[in-house]
């Protein structure tokens, strides 16, 4: 079984070398004449004003939190998806309870307005 993953490892090496080769090549080929104006931050063509850390909506963070939770729940259903024909009706009941929790969580967030982009 590990052999399969070793092949993935080899492929990973290939995949890592692929972006690196053009980057390194370009590093030697391209001109390098940076000036302070060139390397300044772009902002509408004017001088950049203020810090990058403008205030972000807390909503981004709420979505990320909700994502973590639901992602775990969906991942947990994968072993069941391959085994549900083996574990049969009781497995179905058990998974239904689990799915119910997922639905309840989603419904709760929805009703509470946590999924609202306002």
């Amino acid at each position: 079984m590990l052999a399969n993953y070793a092949i993935v490892g080899i492929f990973l090496v290939a995949a890592i070398s692929f972006p690196l080769i053009p980057l390194v090549l370009a590093f030697f080929l391209r001109p390098k004449r940076p000036t302070p104006l060139k390397t300044s931050t772009y902002e509408c063509g004017l001088e950049a004003i203020g810090d990058v850390h403008v205030q972000f909506k807390v909503q981004y963070y709420l979505y990320a939190l909700a994502f973590v939770i639901f992602d775990i729940e969906v991942i947990f259903l994968y072993p069941w998806a391959v085994a549900f024909q083996v574990v049969g009706l009781y497995g179905l009941i058990a998974a239904t309870i689990f799915l119910l929790m997922l639905f309840a969580g989603l419904l709760y967030e929805w009703r509470k307005g946590a999924l609202e982009w306002v």
């Binding site: 058990a94 309840a104 709760y108 009703r111 509470k112």
Partner: protein, 527 residues
């Protein structure tokens, strides 16, 4: 494998889940108005649904356990007896879900204790107004109760761990529920950080035990399998450092949850900052569940590592616990002496009481099986009395804090003139905590000292008795503030029905169980 007969065995847990979803659903699916009256109604409906529901679950659990009424075999067959028969088929004995959960007498009794404590807490909460999200407040209490019920019956590492999390996560949220109050927010954060670290330590201990039990076939997380195959049952302290390390980690991890010195530093801050009914809940039900889980973990996973509390060469977990008990009793009581905030004072008193409870665990080192069982009985009795008393004390404090605007000793001044019944109820609880006869606290302490003595930890019992006398000082300070010191403010304090009922239950329980301990001991002895 899951079987149909498992359903009645897990019935209280299933009902708790349904109740929690019901409370949550009734809150989010209803369109509540924005007016204060509508908001008040919203809180009231969630709170009363929780209280009534918990009462019903308690009733079902009580009926199911068969301690009050056991359906005779010869009873006629009709609709009602069928219900009861089916219910009681889930009575003591059996291990549902492939042995992951044990529904023995210990679980049954502890379940009653926990659901009862949750019921009293929900009564206390009838008059607390969560600023926002009232429905979730009550649903979280029920979820936490569900976690504790699973914790006391957990017969498997994974379930034990997850049950602890299911208990703790709602409690973290509840402790920090009033986000606008910096003390509550601090309590929530501190509780969470300490809880997370201690969970990690506990989990590490569990995985070490799992690894120590590893052999050619694999390992098991189930306690039965761990011992049945002699994988771990034969381990003693001298035979493997790994298993000793596992035991130490488990004791330390649980020690954090139980706020045993030196793992106690979170508890005064959390107790002080959390909403007072939640403090009551944390200090009673979650502690009781933790002790029972600790008992199960230690006796089932490390049966050959018991050792002796006399601190001889044998070592073992009783020796570790004896040291912890010594530290807890001494430091808990001494640190309570200078406190001026009543919640902090009671927090330290709770720490000290945890030290006494550990004495009951030490009894497992005794030679005779009879003495061991006595130890467990004493432990359970102590937990019952302590829970009732603490619920009463914190309940009264919740009311005082709500109506006088603070919970410092100064706020207690002249309470006897502002509301005598409340002062008297509070006094009974304080005296029971101090262990004054004929209240429950006295007999509980007496019993546990006796058991500790038999286990061989005589030195510890002597120190504990001395410390009990020391503790009288700070308990009496509370009484002095209430009855002797002059009041700065003489406006009467009203006693709402919810808190009144909760206090009455607690005080009556303490009195009755103190005077007639056999009422409950006859049940507890079945363990």
């Amino acid at each position: 494998m899951f079987q149909l007969t498992d359903i009645p065995r897990l019935l209280p847990e299933i009902l708790l889940l349904v109740l929690a979803l019901l409370v949550l659903g009734s809150d989010i699916l209803e369109r509540w108005g924005r007016t204060p009256a509508a908001q008040l109604e919203r809180v009231k409906s969630s709170a009363s649904l929780t209280a009534i529901g918990l009462g019903m679950v308690l009733f079902v659990a009580l009926l199911q356990s068969g301690y009050i009424y056991r359906l005779p075999e010869t009873a006629p067959v009709n609709f009602f007896t069928n219900i009861i028969r089916n219910l009681q088929s889930g009575g003591p004995g059996g291990e549902p879900i492939a042995g992951a959960f044990a529904t023995d007498h210990l679980t049954m009794i502890a379940r009653l204790l926990i659901i009862g404590a949750a019921l009293v807490t929900s009564l206390l909460c009838l008059d607390v107004r969560p600023s926002a999200h009232p429905g979730e407040f009550y649903a979280l209490i029920i979820f936490s109760t569900l976690g504790m019920c699973l914790m006391v019956g957990a017969n498997e590492f994974l379930l034990a761990y997850l049950a602890i999390e299911l208990t703790s996560i709602p409690l973290y949220l509840l402790a920090g529920y009033f986000r606008n109050d910096p003390r509550s927010a601090e309590a929530g954060l501190k509780y969470f950080l300490f809880g997370a670290i201690s969970s990690a330590i506990l989990l590490y201990g569990m995985s070490l035990a799992f690894g120590a039990a590893l052999n050619g076939v694999g390992s098991a997380t189930n306690f039965n399998d761990l011992t049945r195959f002699d994988r771990i049952g034969t381990f003693t302290a001298s035979s493997g450092g790994l298993i000793t390390l596992a035991m130490l980690f488990i004791v330390a991890g649980m020690g954090y949850k139980l706020a045993v010195v030196p793992f106690h530093s979170w508890s005064p801050d959390v107790y002080e900052g959390a909403p007072t009914p939640i403090t009551a809940f944390i200090s009673t039900a979650s502690k009781a569940a933790g002790f029972i889980l600790l008992f199960r973990l230690l006796t089932k996973t490390f049966p050959a590592m018991t050792g002796s509390p006399t601190l001889d060469t044998a070592g073992g977990w009783t020796a570790v616990l004896a040291v912890l008990a010594l530290l807890t009793v001494v430091i808990g009581n001494l640190a309570a002496l200078p406190q001026t905030n009543v919640k902090r004072l009671l927090a330290y008193s709770s720490i000290a009481h945890a030290g006494f409870v550990v004495l009951g665990l030490l009894a497992w080192a005794a030679a005779q099986p009879f003495d061991r069982e006595q130890g467990l009985t004493a432990l359970l009795y102590y937990l019952f009395i302590y829970s009732l008393t603490n619920l009463g004390a914190f309940g009264a404090l919740a009311l005082i804090g709500q109506q006088t605007g603070g919970d410092d000793l100064t706020h207690l001044r002249g309470l006897s003139r502002r509301n005598l019944p409340l002062a008297l109820l509070f006094t009974v609880c304080i005296l029971s905590l101090a262990g004054i006869p004929p209240l429950g606290g006295f007999f509980a302490k007496f019993y546990i000292f006796m058991v500790g003595w038999q286990s061989g930890a005589t030195w510890l019992v002597v120190i504990a008795v001395v410390m009990t006398i020391v503790s009288l000082y700070y308990y009496l300070r509370l009484l002095k503030a209430m009855f002797i010191e002059p009041a700065t403010d003489l406006t009467p304090v009203s006693l709402p029905r919810g808190i009144g009922a909760a206090l009455a239950i607690a005080v009556v329980g303490v009195l009755v169980l103190g005077i007639f301990p056999n009422l409950i001991l006859s049940v507890l002895e079945r363990v």
